[in-house]
């Protein structure tokens, strides 16, 4: 394989990894605060794709982006309010089942409303612009994705480590009742968590679908599962872990495709999940559980 091809594949892998990372953050943040695997997260990502299709059909893309961003956040927060909040004091399994229910609901709603035929994802002009460096050529989105991912991760980490809201999020993730005793409105903090997760899922969807070009009702299923694996790989609950997990999966998959084993690229992801759960269930950066009695 020539150096250029290698570079080209490397770029594709990093770019795919970036989109995965942004979605994986949503899984890891919700898990961190609610101890819930939000199975509907991949479908929020899919819905963001559809929202974008319809928005761009009726307005210029620079208006569509903020509108769809808002709609995706609204969807994420509403799902939490309607399907998870009433189960706050129920056993964890109930809320998990509710999440699976929401996931199917969104998939079937999308099939019903938009049919199961794939629809073309709109082209956002500046993202599709291609560029050439020597023999290397790619669209701008491929180049932007990793940088945008790292920038957003950095912003998110500063939010969590240096703001009052971030401090409250860390407190709530540790201890609900004591957080309430401090005067923290935990429902607001949880809503904020879903809002941030959905916002990142929206950014991920723009980057991912611009590359894939079509959206269909099950578009969110496989990427959703893979990003969940990315979050587990990095150590669920850890944001840098999710980002690194996303990049590892994106690069690994692309490498397999490049080597001619594209049939195994999905298997690779889930093999990683099994190996991880067997040998290091807390993931690469997972918090160690230390119970002090």
């Amino acid at each position: 394989m020539s150096g250029i091809t290698l570079l080209q594949h490397g770029l594709t892998g990093i770019s795919l990894g970036g989109a995965y990372a942004l979605i994986a953050i949503g899984y890891t943040m919700v898990y961190g605060i609610l101890r819930l695997i939000n199975f509907a997260h991949g479908d929020i990502f899919m819905m963001a794709g559809y929202f974008m299709i319809f928005a761009v059909a009726s307005m210029p893309w620079y208006l569509a982006i903020p509108l769809v961003m808002f709609l995706t956040v609204l969807l994420g927060v509403t799902i939490e309010r309607v399907a998870y909040k009433p189960l706050r004091s129920a056993p964890r399994m109930s809320i998990m089942i509710s999440a699976i229910g929401v996931s199917y609901l969104l998939q079937n709603l999308a099939t019903y409303l938009f049919t199961a035929l794939p629809r073309g994802y709109p082209e956002i002009p500046f993202l599709k612009k291609s560029f050439h460096v020597g023999e290397l050529s790619a669209s701008l989105v491929t180049l932007i994705t990793p940088f945008l991912t790292i920038l957003l991760t950095f912003l998110l980490m500063s939010l969590i480590n240096h703001t009052k809201l971030g401090m409250a999020m860390r407190a709530v993730s540790k201890d609900y009742e004591t957080s309430q005793l401090m005067g923290i409105k935990i429902n607001r903090v949880i809503s904020a968590t879903f809002a941030i997760g959905s916002l990142l899922a929206f950014v991920g969807s723009v980057l991912y679908f611009t590359d894939r070009m079509t959206v269909f009702p099950f578009s969110g299923t496989l990427p959703g599962l893979k990003c969940f694996v990315a979050a587990v790989l990095g150590g669920i609950g850890s944001i840098p872990g999710a980002v690194i997990g996303g990049f590892i999966l994106g690069i690994g998959e692309t490498a397999l495709v490049a080597l001619g084993y594209s049939t195994f690229s999905d298997a690779f992801t889930f093999a990683i999940l099994i190996v991880m759960l067997l040998f290091r269930p807390t993931g690469l950066f997972g918090e160690k559980v230390t119970d002090k009695v």
Binding site: A171, M182, I184
Partner: protein, 240 residues
């Protein structure tokens, strides 16, 4: 008369975890005093405090704080009104630094915290030395001091404490009770739950004895300390 009442519970009943944990108790906490609630495990003391703080819902009765009904209010409203609970077992946020734990105690406030922090560090110099450490790395006594400091950051009018001496070495227990006195002298009303009845009764202006969800006895700290039945049940002294 109404003026020097800080907190009044009237016929409070609480069902908690399928148990009728509090069966109609009436308690009065006068402003500026230390009132203690003693009793054995499972008497319903913690449930009472958690109900006042709003994290457990009452099933009947009334809780009045400075003339306002607290039943039905959310925990964050209650903190904003000036009632803060130091929970049983300290419950500091182990994943936050000491400084962050103190800051989160003042979550309801948006003013500058420098003066409040100075005041807490004055009371607990150890916390200042360790303000960058994760709270989970502190010793039990330091965590209790942090829990008290964190509660004071909300500038409470009424400070409720749930078993502050639990699991601490005797010397540290003495420190904690000294601190409670100091806090009280600064004008903060204290409602204290203790199994360590001896210490609690010594500092209390008024005390209630709680058994299986009801108040069985009340009196000034000194009176109760002198009672034979109390000595036998809570102070481990046999009748002669």
């Amino acid at each position: 008369m109404n003026n020097d009442r800080c907190l009044t519970l009237t016929d409070l009943q609480v069902d908690y975890g399928g148990i009728h944990a509090v069966k109609g108790i009436s308690i009065e906490v006068p402003r500026g005093k230390i009132v203690t609630l003693i009793g054995s495990n499972g008497a319903g003391k913690s449930t009472t405090l958690r109900t006042i703080a709003g994290v457990v819902k009452a099933s009947a009765g009334s809780i009045e704080f400075e003339g306002t009904q607290l039943i039905g209010k959310n925990p964050d409203d209650i903190v904003s009104m000036g009632i803060t609970l130091v929970p049983e077992g300290r419950r500091v946020f182990a994943n936050l630094t000491v400084l962050e734990n103190l800051k989160i105690g003042a979550y309801i406030h948006s003013h500058k915290l420098d003066d409040d922090l100075e005041r807490i560090y004055g009371l607990f110099p150890r916390l200042k030395e360790r303000d960058w450490q994760l709270a989970g790395t502190l010793s039990g006594g330091e965590q209790q001091m942090l829990a008290v400091g964190r509660a004071l950051m909300s500038r409470p009018k009424l400070l409720m404490m749930d078993e502050p001496s639990l699991g601490l070495a005797p010397l540290i227990v003495k420190d904690i009770f000294d601190i409670i006195r100091t806090i009280n002298k600064e004008g903060i009303t204290v409602l204290l739950i203790e199994q360590n009845a001896n210490h609690a009764l010594k500092i209390a202006d008024w005390a209630y004895v709680m058994e299986t969800g009801t108040i069985t006895m009340q009196g000034s700290g000194e009176e109760l300390l002198a009672k034979d039945s109390i000595k036998e049940a809570y102070l481990g002294k046999k009748k002669q």
